[in-house]
């Protein structure tokens, strides 16, 4: 794990550590639902029915356990001409979106995220594959970041 990809001169702004709670909750819930569905295989009376459920529970445990680390790994940085976003530990991904390429910026707030005082930011470019989101930004920061990015996008507006 020493050869992890990293960008040397990047100073990341991390998202709120509170964001791990909704993430862990949703992973735990979906893991339990899948495990409950797999319980139907128990009726076959075979040993692998239980093995499947156990495997699902173990995987869910791992995913939930690693969630705080994954949330810590989410970061963004406003560079001079573009927004740099990083995500992931195992599947690492860095995206650089030039400000002029942003078509619109969404601020989303689900009930749980809102209860924690957070917002999710989503950036849309003309390319569907850009898929840039910054989840778990404190509400005030999110508003400020959105306004700042809109302002930057205005000043560097480019065509398609």
């Amino acid at each position: 794990m020493t050869d992890r990809l990293d960008l040397p001169d990047a100073s990341w702004t991390r998202v709120s550590p509170k964001y791990k709670w909704p993430e862990m909750g949703s992973y735990l819930l979906s893991g339990l639902v899948v495990a409950a569905l797999s319980a139907f295989t128990w009726f076959s009376g075979q040993w692998w029915g239980f093995a499947i459920t156990a495997a699902i529970l173990v995987i869910t445990g791992f995913v939930v356990g690693f969630t705080p680390r994954r949330v810590r790994a989410i970061g963004y940085q406003l560079r001079e001409d573009d927004l740099l976003v990083r995500r992931g530990i195992l599947f690492l991904r860095f995206v650089a979106v030039p400000y002029g390429r942003m078509q619109l910026i969404d601020v989303n707030r689900g009930p749980i995220v809102r209860a924690l005082g957070l917002s999710d930011l989503k950036f849309v470019t003309a390319a569907a594959s850009s898929a840039v989101t910054i989840p778990g930004v404190p509400v005030d920061d999110a508003e400020r970041l959105r306004d700042r990015l809109v302002e930057l996008a205005e000043s560097r507006r480019a065509g398609l």
Partner: protein, 589 residues
């Protein structure tokens, strides 16, 4: 609203900013075809009954008195004839046709359009009115389609393509010549060129209507501009048929045949043949469609971008202004390799309603061509990479190759290829060869040839055959991704069109100290990504590509493509601080 005039006159009248109506034959062309088809169908299926109506029934035929009521119970025509409702039925049909005609006529009356200096606007609908206005500088392409029926009437459908789903502005139908004029005028205004285009020389004066129609009918699908554009690629029938037969679909068909033969041989059952015959018929139509569609393919340069023409009976030709192509892929299926054929596809922001050679969205720009054809086509669609401006760029960068910003050309440093060509022709030729060889090298080379940075040796675990070929390089204004040893392809992404850049690494790539790069462009058949690069190389590439994309996008002026030429810069983009004043440009999100 002033009285809209008919769309028959020259474009000077049609594009004067007033509301105009479409071609008067529009109701007939839109709805008439359906009516004629229905009439034909009815006549065809009921010809027995019609014969019986006017001729005495042959003795001992099917209609003998009482038997008719039972046997023809489900046939409405027989019922009508049998019960003496002919007059009523005919009146009903006539009324229906009249109502339909009235609706079509009203729809034509209500369908008006106008072209102003900034926008094109269409109003349509009788009950549900709609009004669509499109900005001229956001045009992604203008397509003129002529169905066989429309060609007989000398009409054409003009379609202005805008970025996005269902974002096209159709003008159906205009007069054939008027459509050409309107397109040229719209493109002229969109380009930001100030002076008006010269008038079309002599209209239809003195020439008979039939002769004119015939002339239009026989004209190549490129359209009849004032200067007939010369296609740089000629499609050969043999090559076209060969390429269709040697496509992946043939492999699939061969597999199906093999499966059928094996199944018959082993089981002795013939039921699979029932499945097989429709497949065979379908494949025949696939081949014929592909060949017929591409038979009169042509591609040419016009002052307002490239023009691509398709079709034998129903023709379409589309003008793509500069800077509307978001990525380009040259690919060579395995079976084409002995012949050296290539296919060129593009990603574009608009979705034209015409279909391409394979019945897919119109993203094929060269269905099949030799390496020479490919370089000619690329010379049109990427002039900054292989054309004369590429020589400019090569001259500008050659004394200072270590420039931190190799892509952006500043005004003072731009060499002038035309001047050079006049003074030292041999050097200009040599420079343009270098620029051309860039693409040619990318098509077939492997290893470090052609300046590509390739995957390291350890990448052969995941790129078994292609690790030597898998690579990238930056070129003036573009990024080249070279991939595939068996199915060769070269993806070219113009830097000003890159929407965002990403670098990623999963567990497998990390173990091998590799990384993958994605260049995000608008959606299309091409995904510009390259995997299995050395992690260090990939990081450097990510940094330089994301920086170059910003610089190139800032310098890009193609949405008003003639403005830069007015400033005496052949394609070389001005930098941000040298922006030309453009009062018409709106800064809005």
């Amino acid at each position: 609203m002033s009285h809209p005039s008919l769309a028959r006159g020259p474009a000077v009248v049609l594009t004067d900013g007033e509301w105009h109506r479409l071609h008067p034959a529009t109701p007939l062309l839109r709805g008439g075809i359906v009516l004629v088809a229905i009439l034909f169908f009815v006549l065809n299926t009921e010809k027995d009954n019609l014969l019986q109506l006017f001729l005495p029934a042959p003795g001992g035929g099917r209609g003998d008195g009482g038997g008719r009521g039972d046997s023809d119970a489900g046939d409405p025509v027989a019922y009508v004839v049998g019960h003496g409702f002919i007059g009523l039925a005919l009146a009903g049909i006539a009324l229906l046709i009249l109502i339909l005609l009235a609706i079509f006529y009203a729809s034509w009356r209500m369908n008006t359009f106008r072209v102003t200096d900034e926008t094109v606007e269409v109003r349509s609908g009788i009950v549900f009115r709609s009004n669509r206005r499109a900005r001229l500088d956001r045009i992604q392409g203008i397509n003129i389609q002529r169905s066989l029926f429309a060609r007989v009437f000398g009409a054409a459908k003009l379609e202005i393509n805008q970025a996005g789903h269902d974002a096209n502005v159709p003008l159906a139908y205009l007069g054939s010549a008027a459509a050409e004029d309107v397109r040229r005028e719209i493109l002229r205004r969109a380009s930001g060129a100030r002076e008006s285009a010269p008038e079309r020389p002599g209209g239809a004066g003195g020439v008979g209507l039939v002769e004119q129609r015939l002339h239009e009918f026989l004209a190549a699908p490129l359209g009849e501009g004032q200067v007939a554009p010369h296609s740089v690629v000629t499609m050969r029938l043999g090559r076209l048929i060969g390429s269709a037969l040697l496509s992946g679909f043939t492999l699939f068909l061969a597999a199906v045949v093999a499966a059928v033969v094996i199944s018959i041989a082993t089981t002795g059952q013939y039921f699979l043949l029932i499945v097989f015959f429709p497949t065979l018929l379908g494949s025949f139509s696939f081949y014929s469609r592909r060949v017929v569609k591409s038979l009169r393919y042509s591609i040419a340069a016009t002052p307002d971008g490239i023009r691509v023409g398709w079709g034998l009976l129903a023709t379409s030709n589309e003008t793509l202004p500069p800077g509307r192509i978001h990525s380009i892929r040259l690919s060579q299926p395995l079976l084409w390799r002995p012949f050296g054929w290539w296919e060129v596809k593009i990603n574009r922001a608009s979705h034209s309603s015409t279909k391409g050679a394979d019945g897919q969205a119109n993203t094929t720009i060269l269905p099949v061509g030799s390496a020479l054809d490919v370089s000619r086509v690329l010379g049109l669609i990427l002039p900054e990479l292989v054309g004369l401006p590429a020589v400019d760029a090569a001259l500008a960068t050659s004394p200072r190759r270590a420039s931190p910003v190799p892509v952006s050309l500043e005004k003072g440093e731009t060499g002038d290829a035309r001047a050079l060509a006049a003074e030292k022709p041999e050097r200009a030729v040599a420079e343009s060869r270098t620029a051309l060889s860039l693409i040619e090298a990318g098509m077939t080379s492997s290893g470090g040839d052609g300046g590509f940075t390739t995957s390291p040796r350890r990448a052969q675990w995941i790129r078994w055959f292609s690790w030597r070929r898998n690579g990238f390089r930056t070129a003036p204004g573009s990024i080249l991704l070279r991939k595939g040893a068996i199915w060769r392809q070269l993806v070219v992404v113009p830097l000003p069109r890159v929407q965002s850049v990403s670098i990623r690494q999963g567990p497998l790539l990390r173990r091998l100290r590799l990384a993958a790069i994605d260049l995000h462009t608008v959606q299309g058949p091409i995904t510009a990504q390259i995997g299995a690069l050395d992690a260090g190389d990939a990081r450097v590439f990510f940094e330089s590509a994301s920086h170059d994309a910003v610089v190139a996008a800032r310098a890009d002026r193609t949405h008003r493509w003639f403005d830069q030429q007015a400033a005496g810069l052949p394609w070389a983009p001005p930098t941000s601080d040298q922006r030309l004043p453009d009062p018409s440009r709106e800064e809005h999100p």
